[in-house]
């Protein structure tokens, strides 16, 4: 993944930078307000509880998955298992063929992004229409989501006006309420004419065989109840044992994501329509996807599977807020993406991501289930070193530093020389505009302040402070 190149593009993209600056802090402020309103002490207790609940589910994941399957089947749903994206595509296309389905509407599913499902559906002539407003917008733009909760967060009103004007063939609107109404109008058509509804799933409840869908727009309900077939696609790590677990996690999820005490719609879907039901799909399918998740179970990255997909980590990440989500190159951006991408697509295919972090810890502090993201990123860096994936020059430089630092008899004279040299390079102004060798990355956008010119060690020795043993 060429994160560096994409990040460079993002930094030079003035429109994107303007959008990030204007809107980047919104979710952070809202989460802080929701946390304060609930009470900081209680919120922190909930985070502890959230981690425990998720760990408990992951500790015996197979048990809960089988229980889920049992309960879901009992209520008339079909449970399918997909090893990877290719199998997801195959299973969905099978379902389309079996039921003669022609048109799909979708509410947000990141798993469907992992599986490149939309393309596969379009290729067979089953048009998938995204109905989540943000997903709808980027579908019009032909882009991927840049945030797991707000897929079109990189777009501003002007850009959306342009997209609507172009695709809706109506007068260009600029008022947000009017634009939303127009989108609803467009989407209504699709809701009523689709025979397949594809959704994701925030949680799978083993106790009842239900899928929980947490949304702010009504599209989630339309997609999962109007068409005759509903397919819910989500990852196997989403299973939680009980409704009580769900209630606890629901106190954390909306607050952490958007600063809401609860989202506008919370839906628990349990089986297809029963005899006598006025609505609901005739057929309900679950596609439970592995795609690398089972590899993480029992590994030193297992904590990443606690993730409840709130987006708080990327909201708080200084790197994400500077380059935006597209720079990350795959489905999941920000800190969680920097762990999941190498984990799911291969360490060697995502070398930059674990490196492109300051390890500031803001993500860890914000994570509702206390995933130790900086430590996971550091672990991935260690794995890269062990797999000999780091550039030789970088390893040599770090080893040289370690070699020097272990030998004070060498370290002292070298740093004395270094301090003098850098001071000289700093000249009268006391700063260096271009550092040589590996230091060039620093001085691209900054000066390097010159050192004082002598080391503490030599000055302290001169003062008569010497041995301290």
């Amino acid at each position: 993944m060429h994160f560096k190149a994409r990040a460079g593009k993002a930094l030079a993209d003035r429109k994107l930078q303007s959008v990030l600056k204007r809107f980047g802090g919104g979710f952070v402020e809202k989460r802080a307000a929701a946390r304060a309103e609930l009470g900081v002490a209680l919120f922190e207790e909930l985070r502890d509880a959230g981690a425990v609940i998720r760990d408990r589910a992951l500790a015996t994941l197979d048990v809960w998955l089988l229980r889920f399957e049992q309960e879901a089947q009992r209520r008339g749903a079909t449970v399918l298992w997909a090893h990877d994206g290719a199998e997801v595509r195959r299973l969905v296309l099978d379902i389309c063929r079996r039921h003669g389905l022609k048109k799909a509407i979708k509410s947000k599913s990141m798993l469907s992004e992992e599986a490149d499902l939309n393309e596969a559906l379009a290729d067979t002539g089953v048009t998938p229409v995204e109905t989540d407003l943000g997903e709808y917008i980027i579908q019009l733009a032909g882009e991927a989501p840049s945030h797991i909760i707000a897929p079109a967060i990189h777009k501003d009103r002007e850009q959306v006006s342009d997209l609507f004007a172009e695709h809706h063939r109506r007068a260009r609107l600029t008022d947000i309420e009017q634009m939303t109404r127009e989108a609803r109008l467009m989407l209504r058509e699709h809701f009523l004419s689709a025979d397949l509804g594809i959704s994701g799933g925030n949680f799978l409840l083993a106790e009842t065989g239900s899928v929980a869908i947490v949304t702010n727009e009504g599209n989630g309900r339309m997609v999962t109840t109007l068409p005759k077939v509903h397919v819910a696609i989500t990852g196997i790590e989403k299973v939680i044992p009980t409704l009580e677990d769900f209630a606890a996690l629901m106190r954390l999820l909306p607050r952490s994501a958007t600063g809401q005490a609860i989202s506008n719609y919370v839906s628990l879907l349990t089986g297809p329509r029963d005899e006598g039901d006025l609505d609901g799909p005739e057929h309900m399918y679950f596609i439970l996807v592995d795609n690398g998740r089972s590899n993480l179970v029992g590994s030193d990255l297992q904590e990443m599977l606690r993730c409840i997909r709130c987006g708080a980590c990327m909201n708080h990440c200084p790197v994400y807020q500077t380059v935006g989500g597209h720079a990350y190159g795959w489905v999941y951006p920000g800190p969680m993406g920097s762990v999941l991408t190498p984990a799911y697509v291969g360490l060697e295919n995502a070398l930059d991501l674990p490196q492109a972090a300051t390890l500031c810890g803001a993500c860890h502090v914000a994570c509702p289930v206390k995933i130790p993201l900086p430590e996971l990123l550091r672990k991935l860096r260690e794995k890269q070193v062990q797999a000999k994936l780091r550039p030789r020059g970088e390893r040599a430089a770090l080893r040289m530093w370690g070699f020097m630092a272990l030998r004070p008899w060498l370290y002292a004279p070298l740093t004395r020389i270094g301090a003098r040299m850098l001071k000289l390079m700093g000249g009268r102004r006391g700063r260096i505009s271009r550092l040589p060798l590996g230091g060039g990355g620093w001085t691209l956008g900054r000066d390097m302040p010159a050192p004082e010119g002598r080391t503490f060690r030599e000055l302290y020795a001169k003062r008569g402070g010497g041995a301290s043993e």
Binding site: L11, P318, Q355, R431, G441, L444
Partner: protein, 243 residues
């Protein structure tokens, strides 16, 4: 009986700003401590640790432990180095009982400077006489690993000439991140730029902080932006005043 404090100078202070080392020394002595400076000290091992070079980090940790464990405390003018020793050293010796005991013992008595001065030494007054408006940047490791937040502010509040004005996003990372600053220099500088905007917006004469990495980064970006006015000061030098 005076507290015997081992001053962990840090590699960046040693190389770039020895005056900060002397400021720390002055403050510790003002707090009634006997300050020792183990002569063979070099680096805490964090660059290797963060980069995944475990062996190198471990070797340096062993060295630091041997150099400082005889002191009553290890104090560093850096949240990042103190954090490395206090929270991460134990991860370098998984399952090794003997080493872990020594690590735990050292970690328990390792402090960032302002944290030590407030919570352990109870420093009553500070020698510095800075006059002006300052804003404080909360370095990430100090804040999130060690809980350093109120301590520097409490100490700065003892200075009648200092007016503290909090800036927007004072707890947001400055973009240094160790080797990140050279590996992803463009992103790093952009993050630093956002920090500089907040410093400028709050109108302070100086931005004060507790870590050299942040210091060099913020100062470097301020100057590249054409700001030669705003001072960038380590909290130790503000509190200690003239040498």
């Amino acid at each position: 009986m005076k507290r015997r404090v081992g001053l962990f100078v840090t590699c960046l202070v040693d190389l770039f700003r020895p005056s900060i080392g002397f400021a720390a020394l002055k403050l510790l002595e003002a707090a009634g401590c006997e300050v020792l400076v183990p002569a063979t000290q070099t680096c805490c091992g964090q660059p290797g640790w963060n980069s995944g070079e475990r062996a190198s980090a471990r070797a340096l940790a062993e060295k630091v432990i041997a150099e400082f464990e005889a002191c009553d405390h290890l104090v560093a003018p850096s949240g990042s180095c103190a954090g490395m020793i206090r929270t991460h050293y134990k991860d370098l010796f998984p399952g090794e009982g003997a080493w872990l005991a020594r690590v735990e013992a050292l970690a328990a008595k390792t402090y960032e400077l302002t944290d030590f001065l407030v919570r352990v030494a109870g420093l009553e007054s500070v020698p510095g006489d800075y006059r002006g408006t300052i804003t404080y940047h909360d370095s990430c490791a100090g804040l999130r690993e060690l809980g350093v937040k109120q301590q520097p502010r409490q100490l700065l509040a003892k200075m009648p000439g200092v007016t503290l004005k909090e800036m927007k996003d004072c707890e947001v990372c400055c973009g240094f991140g160790g080797t990140f600053s050279v590996k992803f220099g463009d992103i790093s500088a952009a993050i630093a730029d956002a920090k500089c905007e907040h410093v400028a917006a709050c109108g302070a004469d100086a931005v004060v902080l507790g870590d050299l990495g942040c210091m060099l980064n913020i100062e470097g970006r301020l100057r590249r932006r054409g700001d030669d006015r705003t001072q960038v000061l380590h909290v130790a030098e503000v509190l200690a005043g003239k040498p």
